[in-house]
C-alpha cells in the first residue's frame, strides 16, 4: 500500500472558521456521549419496569412486556431508527409534527429520534436481563418477604431487584457498552456524532486512514474505560460472603 501517513492532520485547519480537525472529533465524541447516556437512562428505566412486568403474577402484564420484547428485539436497529426519524413524525398530531420538523433544529430532532430509538431498542434487552436476574433468585426469597407482610411492590423494591441487579451487572455492562457502539447509527440520520465527524474529516482532508484510526481508538478506549468502571461498580456493591467478582 502506498499511503502517506500524516498524523499532524488533526491539528490542521478544517477551513471552516478557526476549527481544526481535532475539534470535530471532540464535538463528535460529545454527541456520542450525549446520545448513549440519555438512551441508557431510558433503556435502564424502561427495561427494569418491563423486566418486572414479565415476572409478576399477571398474565396481561407479562403479555404486554413479552410482546414489547419480541417487537423491539426482532426488527433491525437501523430499520427502527429510520422508522423513528422518517415515519413516526408523520404520524404525530399536526402541531407536534410541525414542531418536530420545523421548529426544532435538525441536530435536535435527529438527537431525539436516536435517543428514543436506542433507548427503546436497548430496553428490550435490559428487560430480558432483569427478568433472568429475578428468575435466578430462589423462590423462597419472595415467599419469605410475602410471609413477613410485604406487598408485591415492596417485595420487588426491597428483596428481588437489589439482588437481581447485582447478579446481572456483567451482562448489563455489555449492554451499556453496546449502546455506545450502536450510537454510531445516528450518523445515518445526519447527527454529527463521532462516526459522522470521522467520515467528514476523511472527506475534507482525504486522510481517511488517520481519521478512522483515531475514531477506532476513541471507541476502544471509551469502552475499555466503561468496562473498568462497571467492574468497579460490581465490586462496590458485592455482598460480603456471597458473590464473587470478576470470576475470582
Amino acid at each position: 500500500m502506498n499511503y502517506n501517513w500524516d498524523w499532524g492532520i488533526f491539528f490542521k485547519s478544517t477551513g471552516i472558521g478557526s476549527e481544526i480537525y481535532l475539534d470535530w472529533f471532540v464535538t463528535g465524541f460529545g454527541w456520542t456521549l450525549a446520545v448513549a447516556l440519555a438512551a441508557w437512562i431510558v433503556a435502564l428505566a424502561l427495561g427494569a419496569v418491563l423486566g418486572v412486568l414479565r415476572t409478576v403474577p399477571n398474565r396481561w402484564a407479562s403479555g404486554i412486556a413479552t410482546t414489547y420484547v419480541e417487537i423491539f428485539r426482532n426488527v433491525p436497529l437501523l430499520v427502527q431508527l429510520f422508522l423513528w426519524y422518517f415515519l413516526v413524525p408523520d404520524l404525530l398530531p399536526e402541531p407536534l409534527e410541525l414542531w418536530f420538523k420545523q421548529d426544532l433544529n435538525p441536530a435536535t430532532s435527529a438527537y431525539l429520534s436516536v435517543v428514543v430509538c436506542l433507548g427503546l431498542f436497548t430496553a428490550a434487552r435490559v428487560c430480558e436481563q432483569v427478568r433472568t436476574g429475578i428468575q435466578a433468585l430462589p423462590k423462597g426469597q419472595a415467599a419469605a418477604a410475602r410471609a413477613m407482610g410485604f406487598t408485591l411492590p415492596q417485595i420487588y423494591r426491597h428483596v428481588l431487584l437489589p439482588q437481581a441487579f447485582r447478579i446481572i451487572i456483567p451482562p448489563l455492562t455489555s449492554e451499556f457498552l453496546n449502546i455506545f457502539k450502536n450510537s454510531a447509527v445516528a450518523s445515518l440520520i445526519g447527527l454529527m456524532e463521532l462516526l459522522a465527524q470521522t467520515k467528514q474529516t476523511a472527506e475534507f482532508s482525504a486522510n481517511l486512514f488517520e481519521a478512522f484510526t483515531l475514531a477506532t481508538l476513541i471507541y476502544f478506549v471509551l469502552n475499555m474505560g466503561l468496562m473498568l468502571l462497571m467492574r468497579g461498580v460490581e465490586k462496590k456493591v458485592a455482598v460480603p460472603g456471597l458473590m464473587s467478582v470478576g470470576g475470582k
Binding site: 430462589p138 415467599a143 419469605a144 418477604a145 410471609a147 413477613m148 407482610g149 455482598v239 460472603g241 456471597l242
Partner: protein
Amino acid sequence: MISIQNVNKWYGDFQVLTGCSTEVDKGEVVVVCGPSGSGKSTLIKCVNALEPFQKGDIVVAGTSIADKATDLPKLRSRVGMVFQHFELFPHLSITENLTIAQTKVLGRGKDEAIDKGLKLLDRVGLKAHAHKHPGQLSGGQQQRVAIARALAMDPVVMLFDEPTSALDPEMVNEVLDVMVELAQEGMTMMCVTHEMGFARKVADRVIFMDRGQIVEDCAKDEFFGDIHARSERAQQFLAKILQH
C-alpha cells in the same frame, strides 16, 4: 388461635389437600409430620395464605383467609414463618434483615426496630454477628437469625416449615434449643418437622398427614404412648423414623 376448617386444595386436577380440619389453641405447640409429599408443608403454608386453597377456610386470630376482604399482607405480618432454607435476605446485613419488615411493614421507627432486633439477636445468641451478612454465617446461625427475624414482628403464632431439614446434623440442636425455649415461653407454634425428639419434648399435639389428609390428630402422649393404636400408615412411618 388457628382454626383450619375443611381445607381442600388442588394443583390442576391433582388434589394435594383433602378435607383438612384442626384447631390450634393459644399457647399450643402442634407438630405436623408425615412422609414427603403428604401435604404437610402445603397445609402450613395455607395458614398464612402463602399457598391459596380452593375450598374451606382458615381463621387465624379471628381473621378469615377465605374472606375476600381480608388484607392478606397484614395477616401475614402477624404470623411468623421460618423456612427450610432460612431465606434471609443475602444482600442485607443481619441487623437490616431483622429490621426491614419492622420498618417497612409495621411502620416502626428505625431506632425502635434496631433495638428490638438486637435484643432478639442476643436472645438467639448471635449478638456479635449483627454487622455481618447472612452468607458469612453457618446454616444453624442463619436459621436462628431467621427465627429472630420472625419474632421481631411480634407474631401471634409461629409457623415452622422443616426448620432443621437443610442443616448439618451438628447444627440441628442449636436451632431446636431456640424452638424449645420459645415453646416453653408459651408461643403458639405449628411445626412441620421430622424431629420426633422435639415433638416428644415440647409438643402438645401431633398431627400425622398422608396423601393430603390428616390421618392422626391427637395429644402427644397418646401419639407416642401406644403406637399400635395408631393407623397402619402412621405405624409404618414411625417405625421408619424411630428405629434409630
